[in-house]
C-alpha cells in the first residue's frame, strides 16, 4: 500500500527532558521521524519540552511546540493545529504513556485523531504481567516457569518441580520469590541457597496479605538477547538486528555491555528466537512500526524464554540503527503512514529493498557510561534498574578490535582494555558482583592467572567472550618487555588488529605514544576505513558512513577535492556534557555544509543525531581519541578542525592537534587555553579592569590550605579542566579544604586545584556570546534562581535576568564583550558571572569564561529563536556578524521570559541524598515560556532557593 492520503498532518510527541533510561536516542528517532514524514509531504507538528534537541528546531518540523508534555498542553496544541493523526512511538515511554492517558479519556477518538505506529490498546498487554504471560502462552512462546505457593511445603514442591523434578535435582537451584500484593515488591528476591529457603519463603508468606508467594524459575546467569523488529501493515516482519548482552540476565540491558550481531547462538537457536519474535510482534494488536523484544536463553540446554516487548522505537533501536546502518525510526515512520516494507528502498544501497535483514561483516560493541562519581554513597552494583547516563559504541572487524575501541571511546582514562593490576583480593571482590568495571576486572583476573572456567563460574559471562579477553591478555604478555624497535610489522599489525592503541603498546614496551606512532607509520601501518553498508559488501553502498579497522586490504573512504571541515563530537553523554553539545555539533555540521565545506563528523555516541549518516557529508563512527582522530586527519587532510562544539571531549584533543601544527577553525588554541589558565586569565581580567573573586592555585593539600587561609572562607575548590563541576566543593574551614583537596587529588592526580573565594548572597549569571573577531554579539544573559554554590547546570536559569539592575545588565554585557575581544574569540564563548549586592551597591564579577559552545547554547537558541550554534560555526568559518544582523537573523523573538529547568534522575539512586551543590547532578532540562516572574515556573524554584543551600 502506498502512503495514506486520508491524513495530512501528524502530531509527533517527544520524550521530554533527558533522564536515566530515556535519553537523546529519542532526539535521534524523533528527528528522523519528522524528516521522513515531511519528505512524504505531511505537515509535522512537534511537541517536546526539551530545548536541547534537534527535533525541536524550526528546521525539523512545520510547527514546534516547546511545551511540557501533559494532557493539558497536548489538548491546547490540538485545539490550534487540528492534526489528523498522532505518532507516539518516537518519544519513548513518556510519549506512549501520554498518548495512552488521552486514549483512556477517549480524547483521540472524540477529536477524530488517529493513533498511528502502535496499537495503543495492545500496549497494555505488554505492560500487564499476567496479560503478557497469557498472550505469549497463546502464541506458544515459553516463559519463566512459576506457580503460586500458599505454604512452605507447597513452595518446596514447586521448587523441586522447577528444578526438574525430584530425580532431576542435583543440588539446590536458585529461585525467585515474589510475595503477592506487597508494597514495592517487599520480601521478593532471589533465594540463592537451600539454607535461606525456609526463612525467605516463610517471611514472604507472612508479608503477603493473602499469604501467597510466587515461586519463579531464576534466570540468573542466563544469556540475554534483544531483537529489533519492523512490521508493516501487511504484517511483513523483518529483524533488523540481533544484540547479545555480554552481561547475563540480572543486569539491565541499558547497563550491559552489548554486542551486535549475536555471537554465540547456533542457527537453529537463532531461528527459533526469530520465529518467536515474529509471532510475538504480530500478536500485539494491529500496527505498523518498530518493536524490541528481549529473550533469555539457558546456557545449559538452550531453552529460550521471552522477557519483554517494547512496541516502540527504543534506545536499542537507536543502537541497532547505528550498528547496521538501517534507519529504523525513519522506516518505522513511513510504515506508520501506510507504506509497506517492500515499497521502500534500502537507502544505504539505493538499489535494493528496505524489506530485508541487514548482514554485518563487523562486530559492534556498546559500553554504557556511568557517572557514579557524581553521587556520593551510590550503590555501584548493576541491577535490573538502569543506572548508566550514556553509552559509547565501537565498530571493529572483530570483537577484540571493537571492544578496545569502545574503551578508547569512553573518556575515562582508558586507552583500551587496560589499567594497573590491583590486588588479587580487590579483583576477587569486584568480580563477585556485576560492577561497571567488570571487563577491566576480568582482564586483571586473567593476568593474575585465572582460567576462563573460573571467571565464567563467577560472572556467568559466556566463555566465548571470556576467551576473547584472554586472547588480549595473552597478546599483552607476549609483547610486554619487548623493545619497540624489535616489534616487527607482523607483531605490530597483530596488536593493532586486536584494537590495541599506540598508548597501550607504548605502555607494554615502555615507550611513548608518539614513538609507537612513528614506528607504526614507519612500517606503513595505518588503519583502513570500511563502509557500514547493511549488506556485508554484497551490494555497493551510497552512504558515507565509515569505521576504521586494521584489516589492511583497502580503504573505502577516499579524500575528496573539496574544502573540508572536521567536527569533533562530544562522545558519550555524561552529567555535565550531554545532548546540548550534540545539538551544537549537528548545527556545526549543517552550517559548515552551508558554507560550502565538506563536513566530516567524528563521534562515538550511538544515541545522537550527529552520528546519523544523513547529517554530515562523511561520518566516522570512531572514538574521539587522539590516535583515531589523528589517523582520520592524516587521511582527510581537512582545511580546519572545529573544536568549539564537542565540549571538553574535543577540547582535550586541542593541545595534540596544535602540537601537530594542524589548523583550527575559530578562536586560536592559545586563547582557548588562556581561559583555562587561571593565572593568565586573571591577568587579563585585571588588565580589563574586570573584578573577579580572589583565587589561588594549588597542587597539594598543604598548598591548598595555605591558599585558603590567605583568601578566606567560604571557599570554592575544584580541579581544573573538568566539566560539570566534578569534584567541586565549598569548604568553610581548613579541615574541609584538606579533606576535599585530598579527595580531588585521588580522583584527578596531577591536576591543578583551583580555589576561589565563594561570593555569598550573590546572583549567578550565565552569558553566551558570539564573536567574529571584530565585534561581539551577546546571544543571551541568564540569571540563575538558585544561589551561587549550586552548579549552573543544576540551576533554574531565566532569560533575560529578572532582578538585577539595568546598569548591572549593561556591565555584564560590557565585560563579556571586552573579554571576548581580548581573547580573540572567533565563534562562541560562554561566561559565568556573579552579581553581588553589598550596601545597596551591585558589583559584577567574572568567574570564568569558556571560549566554546556551552550547555546553554541550545536553550538560548530556543528561547530567542536565533540559531546561535549555526551562526557561531559560520563565524568560525569566516562569516561576519554584520551580514547576519542585516538579514535580521540576530533578532530575538522572545516575549516575556524563558526558563530553563533542570531535571534530575534521583529515582534511580534512592540511596543518594537529594541535595544540590557545586557538583552538577541533573541529567536533563526543560524549557518553559512565561509572561512574568510571578509564574510558578519562576516563583516555585525561587521559594525553594534557600532550601537548596545547606549552609
Amino acid at each position: 500500500m502506498p502512503k495514506r492520503t486520508d491524513i495530512e498532518s501528524i502530531l509527533l510527541i517527544g520524550s521530554g527532558p533527558i533522564v536515566i533510561g530515556q535519553a537523546c536516542e529519542f532526539d535521534y528517532s524523533g528527528t528522523q521521524a519528522a524528516r521522513a514524514l515531511r519528505d512524504e509531504g505531511y505537515r509535522v507538528i512537534l511537541v517536546n519540552s526539551n530545548p536541547a534537541t534537534i527535533m525541536t528546531d524550526p528546521m525539523t518540523a512545520d510547527a514546534v511546540y516547546l511545551q511540557e508534555l501533559t494532557p493539558k498542553s497536548i489538548k491546547q496544541i490540538v485545539e490550534t493545529e487540528r492534526p489528523d493523526a498522532v505518532l507516539p512511538t518516537m518519544g519513548g515511554q513518556t510519549a506512549l504513556n501520554l498518548a495512552d492517558q488521552l486514549q483512556q479519556e477517549g480524547y483521540w477518538e472524540k477529536e477524530g485523531i488517529q493513533i498511528i505506529g502502535v496499537d495503543i490498546d495492545a500496549v497494555h498487554t505488554t505492560e500487564d504481567r499476567q496479560a503478557f504471560r497469557d498472550l505469549m502462552e497463546s502464541v506458544g512462546i515459553d516463559q519463566a516457569r512459576s506457580r503460586v505457593a500458599k505454604s512452605l511445603l507447597e513452595a518446596k514442591e514447586i521448587t523441586q518441580e522447577l528444578a526438574g523434578g525430584a530425580d532431576g535435582i542435583r543440588g539446590f537451584k536458585p529461585i525467585v520469590i515474589r510475595p503477592s500484593f506487597t508494597l514495592g515488591g517487599a520480601g521478593g528476591g532471589i533465594v540463592w541457597t537451600e539454607d535461606e529457603f525456609d526463612r525467605k519463603v516463610t517471611r514472604g508468606l507472612e508479608l503477603s496479605p493473602v499469604h501467597e508467594v510466587l515461586i519463579e524459575e531464576c534466570l540468573f546467569g542466563w544469556k540475554e538477547y534483544e531483537l529489533e523488529l519492523l512490521r508493516d501493515a501487511k504484517d511483513n516482519v523483518v529483524i533488523i538486528c540481533s544484540i547479545e548482552n555480554l552481561d547475563p540476565m540480572g543486569v539491565h540491558t541499558g547497563d550491559s555491555v552489548t554486542v551486535a550481531p549475536q555471537q554465540t547462538l547456533t542457527d537453529p537457536q537463532y531461528q527459533r528466537m526469530r520465529d518467536a519474535a515474529i509471532r510475538a510482534m504480530r500478536s500485539i494488536g494491529t500496527f505498523a512500526g518498530g518493536c524490541n523484544i528481549q529473550f533469555a536463553v539457558n546456557p545449559a540446554d538452550g531453552r529460550m524464554i521471552v522477557i519483554e516487548i517494547n512496541p516502540r522505537v527504543s534506545r536499542s533501536s537507536a543502537l541497532a540503527s547505528k550498528a547496521t546502518g538501517y534507519p529504523i525510526a525513519k522506516v518505522a515512520s513511513r510504515l506508520a503512514v501506510g507504506y509497506t516494507l517492500d515499497e521502500l528502498p534500502n537507502e544505504v544501497t539505493g538499489t535494493t529493498s528496505a524489506c530485508f535483514e541487514p548482514a554485518l561483516d563487523y562486530v559492534v560493541t556498546k559500553i554504557p557510561r556511568w557517572n557514579f562519581d557524581k553521587f556520593e554513597g551510590v550503590d555501584e552494583e548493576l541491577t535490573t534498574q538502569m543506572k548508566a547516563v550514556g553509552e559509547v559504541m565501537a565498530i571493529g572487524r572483530t570483537f577484540t578490535e571493537s571492544i578496545q575501541k569502545a574503551f578508547q571511546s569512553l573518556e575515562q582514562g582508558h586507552a583500551g582494555l587496560d589499567g594497573e593490576l590491583p590486588d588479587r583480593q580487590v579483583v576477587r571482590e569486584r568480580l563477585a558482583r556485576p560492577y561497571w568495571d567488570r571487563l577491566l576486572q576480568i582482564r586483571h583476573a586473567f593476568r593474575l592467572g585465572a582460567s576462563v572456567a573460573e571467571v565464567h563460574d563467577v560472572t556467568k559471562i559466556d566463555p566465548w567472550f571470556l576467551h576473547q579477553v584472554r586472547d588480549l591478555v595473552d597478546l599483552e604478555a607476549e609483547t610486554r618487555g619487548q623493545r619497540l624497535e624489535d616489534l616487527g610489522r607482523d607483531a605490530l599489525l597483530g596488536l593493532k588488529q586486536h584494537g590495541f592503541s599506540d598508548v597501550q603498546i607504548a605502555e607494554l614496551v615502555e615507550s611513548t605514544e608518539a614513538e609507537v606512532r612513528a614506528h607504526r607509520l614507519g612500517l606503513g601501518l595505518r588503519p583502513t576505513y570500511r563502509v557500514v553498508d547493511t549488506c556485508a559488501g554484497e551490494f555497493e553502498a551510497q552512504t558515507p558512513y565509515f569505521y576504521s579497522t586494521y584489516d589492511q586490504g583497502e580503504s573505502e573512504s577516499e579524500r575528496s577535492g573539496a574544502k573540508k571541515a572536521l567536527i569533533l563530537g562530544s562522545g558519550p553523554n555524561r552529567i555535565g556534557q550531554g545532548i546540548e553539545f550534540d545539538y551544537s555539533c549537528v548545527h556545526g555540521v549543517l552550517a559548515a555544509r552551508e558554507m560550502g565545506y565538506e563536513a566530516i563528523m567524528v563521534n562515538c555516541n550511538p544515541e545522537t543525531v550527529s552520528t546519523d549518516f544523513d547529517i554530515a557529508d562523511k561520518l566516522y563512527f570512531e572514538p574521539v581519541f587522539w590516535e583515531r582522530v589523528a589517523d582520520i586527519i592524516d587521511l582527510e587532510d581537512p582545511d580546519g578542525i572545529i573544536l568549539q562544539l564537542g565540549g571538553q571531549t574535543a577540547l582535550k584533543l586541542a593541545r595534540d592537534i596544535v602540537d601537530h601544527g594542524l589548523p583550527i577553525f575559530g578562536t586560536p588554541f592559545e586563547n582557548m587555553d588562556l581561559a583555562e589558565d587561571r593565572g593568565k586569565f586573571s591577568e587579563i581580567l585585571k588588565e580589563l579592569e574586570i573584578p573577579f573573586p580572589p583565587y589561588g592555585i594549588a597542587h597539594s593539600v598543604e598548598e591548598a590550605v595555605a591558599v585558603a587561609e590567605d583568601i578566606g572562607y567560604p571557599i570554592l575548590i575544584r580541579p581544573s579542566y573538568v566539566l560539570g563541576g566534578q569534584g567541586m566543593r565549598i569548604a568553610i574551614n581548613k579541615d574541609e579544604v584538606a579533606e576535599y583537596v585530598a579527595n580531588i587529588l585521588k580522583l584527578f592526580p596531577d591536576n591543578e586545584i583551583l580555589l576561589d573565594l565563594f561570593l555569598e548572597n550573590a546572583v549567578e549569571i550565565d552569558c553566551d556570546c558570539l564573536s567574529d573577531g571584530d565585534e561581539v554579539w551577546i546571544a543571551g544573559v541568564m540569571q540563575h534562581i538558585e544561589p551561587a554554590g549550586v552548579h549552573s547546570g543544576d540551576s533554574t536559569a531565566v532569560l533575560p535576568p529578572f532582578s538585577i539592575s539595568d546598569e548591572a545588565d549593561a556591565t555584564i554585557r560590557r565585560y563579556v564583550a571586552a573579554l571576548a575581544q581580548r581573547l580573540g574569540v572567533v565563534g562562541m564563548m560562554n561566561c559565568q558571572l556573579a552579581v553581588q549586592t553589598r550596601e545597596g551597591k551591585e558589583t559584577v564579577y567574572v568567574i570564568e569564561a569558556n571560549p566554546r559552545a556551552s550547555r546553554t547554547v541550545p536553550f538560548v537558541a530556543k528561547a530567542t529563536g536565533v540559531p546561535v550554534a549555526r551562526i557561531g560555526t559560520m563565524l568560525m568559518l569566516g562569516g561576519k556578524l554584520q551580514s547576519f544582523r542585516e538579514a535580521g537573523e540576530l533578532e530575538s523573538s522572545l516575549e516575556g521570559f524563558a526558563v530553563k529547568e533542570p531535571v534530575f534522575s534521583w529515582d534511580k539512586f534512592p540511596e543518594v541524598t537529594k541535595e544540590l551543590g557545586p557538583e552538577m547532578k541533573s541529567t536533563g532540562e526543560a524549557i518553559a515560556f512565561v509572561d512574568d516572574i510571578t509564574d510558578e515556573h519562576i516563583s516555585k524554584p525561587y521559594e525553594m532557593r534557600n532550601l537548596y543551600l545547606k549552609r
Binding site: 501487511k234 511483513n236 555471537q263 561483516d361 572487524r397 572483530t398 556485508a536 554484497e538
Partner: protein, 389 residues
C-alpha cells in the same frame, strides 16, 4: 596454542592473500563465492549445492558455537574449502559436540583464516565469481595462480552426479496420516539437503530418494503422489538427462515441486532459459515477494544460475520475485500441476518464512489448488530435537 600453519589463497586473476590454515592441511580448489549468513556455517559447509565451491563467510567470526550433528545437511562437508576472517578456536555452546576445527580436520576440509574477507567480497562483486586455490603445501604465488587458472569453470559443469545418492533409499517409510495412507514423495537427488527430506517427513509424507540418473519408469514404479526435483550444484544446462526426466514427469501430469537446481531443471524442461549470474545470491536475508499474496518472505538463497525472465505465456507465471534485483524466484507452472522456487524454503540455515511451500505441495498432491497463506507463520524447523541444537 600451537601456531597454525601458514596458508595462501590464490585467485585466477592473480590475487594472492596470506593467512593461517584452519581445519585440515592440504590443498583445495574451486569457485570462490561468498555467503552473508551470520550464523549457520556448518549447514552451509555441508550443503551439497556448494560442491565444487570455496566458501567465503562474510561474517568475521566463524566457529563460535562449534560443530554438531544436527547442523549438518549431509554426512560430510561439501564445500571445497573455507575462507574466514577470524576463526574461533575456543567455541562455546551447549549444543557443541566438537570444535569446527576438529570437524574440518576429521573430514579433510581445508580452510584459511586471517584473510581480509571484505576486500575479497568487493573484488568478486566487481569482477564476478572466479576460481581459486587454498593451500598449506604450496606457498608459491605463481604456482598457486596457475593452479587456480587450471580449475574448470563452473559454467557448463555437471556436478550433481558427484553428490547424488548411489542407491535409492527410503528417508521416511510409508505410513498413515489422519487415517489415510501417507502421500508418497519421490525425491530426485541432485544433492538434496537433509532438511528438505525432514520437511516432507514432518508433514507425514513417505519419502524415497532416487539417484540423479534414475529412469522415469523406475521412479513411477514406486507410484509416487508427487515428484520433487532437489537442489544441487553445477550448471543445469549441462544436465540434459535430468531435463529430459523433468519433461517426462511433466507430461505424466504428476504433481511436481522443485527447489533451486530443481527449479531450474523444471524451467528448462518447459522451454525456459537459464543463465549464469555475475555474483549469485548466497545468504539468509534475501527478500522474496510472493506475488500471489503480496507478502514478503525473508529467504535463504544459494544460487549462481537463475531462470531468465522471458515470455512465459501459457507455460508458467512468475509468482515469486527477488525484491533486490527483481530476478525470478518462483514459478507456477500452467501446463501441469507444479511449482518451483529458486530460494530455500527448508532454510537451514536461515529464516523459516517459506515453510508453507511444503504444505502447499502436500495440498497439490491431495488434488487441491495450492493456495499460500495470506501471512505465512514462521513455523519451527522440523529438526525439533532438543532445544540444544
Amino acid at each position: 596454542m600451537p601456531t597454525p600453519l601458514p596458508a595462501k589463497l590464490a585467485l585466477e586473476d592473480g590475487t594472492v592473500v596470506e593467512g593461517q590454515s584452519v581445519g585440515a592441511a592440504g590443498e583445495t580448489a574451486g569457485e570462490l563465492c561468498f555467503n552473508t549468513s551470520m550464523s549457520g556455517y556448518q549447514e552451509i559447509l555441508t550443503d551439497p549445492s556448494y560442491s565444487g565451491q570455496v566458501m567465503l563467510m562474510t561474517y568475521p567470526h566463524i566457529g563460535n558455537y562449534g560443530a554438531f550433528e544436527e547442523a549438518t545437511e549431509a554426512d560430510r562437508p561439501h564445500v571445497a574449502g573455507l575462507v574466514v576472517r577470524q576463526f574461533s578456536r575456543d567455541p562455546s555452546n551447549s549444543a557443541m559436540e566438537e570444535t569446527l576445527a576438529a570437524y574440518m580436520e576429521r573430514h579433510g576440509l581445508v580452510g584459511i583464516s586471517g584473510v581480509d574477507t571484505r576486500k575479497l567480497v568487493r573484488h568478486i562483486r566487481e569482477k564476478g565469481v572466479m576460481n581459486c586455490v587454498i593451500s598449506t603445501e604450496d606457498l608459491d604465488d605463481a604456482s598457486l595462480v596457475a593452479k587456480a587458472k587450471a580449475v574448470p569453470s563452473m559454467a557448463g559443469l555437471e556436478l550433481a552426479s558427484r553428490v547424488t545418492t548411489g542407491e535409492p533409499y527410503d528417508f521416511a517409510p510409508s505410513g498413515e496420516r489422519d487415517g489415510q495412507p501417507s502421500r508418497r514423495v519421490a525425491v530426485l537427488d541432485y544433492g538434496v539437503k537433509r532438511n528438505i527430506l525432514r520437511s516432507f517427513a514432518h508433514l507425514g509424507c513417505a519419502v524415497r530418494v532416487f539417484p540423479a540418473g534414475t529412469p522415469f519408469d523406475d521412479v513411477m514404479a514406486w507410484e509416487p503422489d508427487g515428484i520433487f526435483f532437489s537442489n544441487g550444484p553445477g550448471d543445469p544446462r549441462a544436465m540434459p538427462e535430468a531435463v529430459e526426466l523433468a519433461r517426462q514427469v511433466i507430461a505424466s501430469g504428476t504433481p511436481t515441486f522443485g527447489i533451486c537446481l530443481g527449479h531450474q531443471l523444471m524451467a528448462l524442461a518447459e522451454g525456459l532459459e537459464v543463465y549464469k549470474m555475475k555474483v549469485g545470491h548466497r545468504g539468509a536475508n534475501h527478500p522474496v515477494l510472493n506475488l500471489t499474496t503480496g507478502h514478503v518472505e525473508i529467504s535463504t538463497q544459494n544460487h549462481g544460475f537463475a531462470v531468465q525472465e522471458a515470455d512465459l505465456d501459457g507455460v508458467a507465471e512468475v509468482d515469486h520475485r527477488n525484491l533486490n534485483d527483481q530476478t525470478v524466484e518462483g514459478l507456477k507452472f500452467l501446463r501441469f500441476p507444479g511449482f518451483s522456487v529458486q530460494y530455500h524454503p527448508e532454510a537451514c540455515p536461515g529464516p523459516h518464512d517459506s515453510r508453507y511451500l511444503f504444505d502447499q505441495f502436500v495440498a497439490l498432491m491431495d488434488g487441491q489448488a495450492p493456495a499460500p497463506p495470506a501471512v505465512p507463520e514462521p513455523s519451527a524447523d522440523p529438526v525439533e530435537a532438543s532445544p540444544d541444537a
